[in-house]
């Protein structure tokens, strides 16, 4: 009996061990190493064998002082808020409309959303690049046909229209998740409560604000948080648009900035410091999400 319980108590540790080892090796160790790297001078000379030099907070000081980081951060935050806001607004509006559509149209809409959602991000990027292509793009053709002067117009060389295209793709890809999740939540709102409010004389607006919204509050929060976290780390869309002939200097977001510093530029010390900045930013934003998920877990 004693043997049995001893075995049982060590069993769960054995079961989680492989997962912990994998996470430790692929994430834990690099994390520690990144902290170390961010405190060292680690540039091209070190790539070729010179020993890295400890420079304390030098990289962080450089990063905060070199005038490059803050515009990137401002751009990243602005891009994130605009995209998350648009995605959430459109997604919520669509979810509400879906409760009113006739069945056929609702299924049609859901099929379309599913298709956009399922599209692999790189495939979506090439298609949107194609749609906005200077020469072959259907967007330029359409705008010209409508009387605009868009023949041979290049969308990716101006930062504003660059981000317009990026926003369009990101929102297009992200709305389905929000719409489906919120629609699912809306169908769970108990009908009798809404009806009771109606009998009590609540207007449609009042019913929405005082009955429907509170009952889907936690789902709304999770969706907003996830959207903000995801839009803060947009990388693939920016990277591919930059490659497609867009300018990269005024269009870097945090992810592509770190990539440019480290992988492309070889300054791993600075890149590590910038990555630490991004890591901390994400963890701060993730805290409320984690708290909610844990509470749900305990219920």
């Amino acid at each position: 009996m004693a043997r049995g319980s001893a075995r049982r108590s060590s069993l769960p540790f054995g079961l989680v061990l492989p997962a912990i080892v994998a996470l430790g090796l692929a994430l834990g160790y690099p994390l520690v190493r990144q902290v170390v790297l961010s405190l060292q001078e680690f540039g091209l000379a070190q790539q070729f064998g010179q020993a890295p030099e400890w420079i304390g907070l030098g990289n962080y000081r450089d990063l905060l002082g070199n005038g490059e980081l803050w515009p990137v951060v401002a751009r990243t935050v602005a891009f994130c808020l605009v995209n998350a806001g648009l995605t959430f607004g459109i997604g919520l509006g669509l979810a509400l409309l879906m409760t009113r559509m006739s069945k056929v149209v609702r299924i049609l809409t859901q099929c379309g959303l599913l298709l956009a959602w399922a599209m692999p991000v790189v495939a979506a990027m090439t298609v949107w690049q194609f749609l906005f292509d200077t020469e072959y793009g259907v967007v330029n053709w359409l705008l010209t046909a409508l009387g605009g002067d868009f023949e041979g117009h290049s969308w990716l060389i101006d930062p504003w229209s660059f981000f317009l295209v990026a926003t369009l793709v990101v929102v297009w890809m992200s709305v389905p998740f929000v719409a489906f999740t919120l629609y699912a939540a809306l169908t769970q709102v108990p009908e009798d409560v809404v009806e009771a409010a109606q009998i009590d004389g609540a207007s449609a607006r009042q019913r929405f604000v005082h009955v429907v919204l509170p009952s889907i509050r936690s789902v709304l929060l999770v969706v907003v948080l996830l959207q903000v976290i995801w839009d803060l780390r947009v990388f693939t869309q920016i990277y591919t648009l930059q490659k497609a002939g867009g300018i990269s200097k005024d269009t870097n977001l945090l992810g592509t900035y770190i990539y440019t510093l480290g992988i492309k530029g070889g300054d791993f010390g600075m890149a590590a410091a910038a990555a630490m900045f991004m890591l901390v930013l994400t963890i701060v934003l993730t805290a409320p999400y984690v708290r909610m998920m844990l509470k749900q877990e305990e219920d």
Partner: protein, 280 residues
């Protein structure tokens, strides 16, 4: 919330619904339809909205130099390895978390939740340095290692729900009938978990198949590219003139397996993701 909706309100909603459908479908439709058009018809004076008489030339050009097939093999290898390893590790961990109370359980769950929110961009610099030091850059093993870690937290989290969904009483009943705990688990619980394992595996497959950020960092050698990296490079090769037909053909090929898999798991997708999935 299926309340009666007034007629004009429903018409309005329906009109928006149809417009949304078109906005969602159009890019996909354009991709597939252009992939069957010869170059001179892709750039016509007027785009052919509903083309007839296509060609397979674009698809032939995709396969012409063999690089697509190489990337396909790399992608399939990395993806299948990732799914297998992640599913195995995650399954064990999920059983531990949902069937046992042990010290550190809460910390483990907390760590999973935090880890799955960490963006690849915040760690790829040091992951690159680590793989470089282990001579695992441009290797399937190296990429699989970082993929397993990025898929694992979400996989454990999802499987945990499935394991918890199998009532313990079933297992206990089997044990009353003379099964050992292990036997009860393999004969009763595991078969009931099969759908959950399949769904979770499919999630993992889609994630690894689509992943771009880590792949572009780890697989820098053109002969080691995965499909997403190959596609971006292929789109970028301006020197031979942009071959939109072939680009759309290869995009279509990369999309097909994902759409098929997506249809399999779409019902679980919503609940799965709010429970913590990550779509990068």
């Amino acid at each position: 919330m299926a309340r009666k909706t007034s007629f004009p309100a429903r018409i309005g909603a329906d009109v928006v619904g149809v417009l949304v459908f078109l906005a969602c479908v159009f890019p996909v439709y354009w991709m597939v339809s252009r992939s069957f058009l010869p170059r001179n018809r892709i750039k016509g004076e007027h785009p052919e909205v509903v083309p007839t008489h296509g060609t397979l030339d674009n698809y032939r050009r995709v396969f012409a130099d063999g690089s697509f097939t190489d990337a396909l093999v790399t992608s399939l290898t990395v993806t299948l390895l990732t799914v297998t390893v992640a599913l195995l590790f995650a399954f064990l961990a999920a059983v531990a978390v949902s069937r046992f109370r042990f010290r550190g359980r809460r910390t483990f769950i907390l760590a999973l939740l935090v880890i799955q929110m960490i963006p690849a961009e915040a760690l790829f610099i040091s992951q690159y340095k680590m793989l470089d030091g282990m001579s695992l850059l441009n290797s399937v093993v190296g990429l699989t290692l970082v993929y397993v870690a990025s898929v694992l937290p979400f996989t454990v989290w999802t499987l945990r729900g499935f394991v918890a969904g199998v009532p313990r009483e079933l297992e206990e009943a089997a044990m009353m009938d003379g099964c050992s705990r292990t036997q009860a688990f393999f004969k009763v619980t595991l078969p009931l978990l099969a759908p959950g394992l399949v769904a979770t595996g499919v999630f993992g497959f889609i994630q690894a198949w689509n992943e771009f950020t880590l792949a572009v960092v780890v697989m820098t050698d053109p002969s080691k590219e995965t499909l997403p990296v190959w596609l971006v490079a292929f789109t970028d090769s301006r020197s031979r003139g942009v071959d939109w037909g072939a680009i759309m053909a290869s995009s279509t090929l990369i999309t097909i397996p994902v759409i098929l898999f997506f249809l399999v798991v779409q019902r679980r997708m919503v609940s799965g993701i709010t429970a913590g999935a990550v779509k990068g």
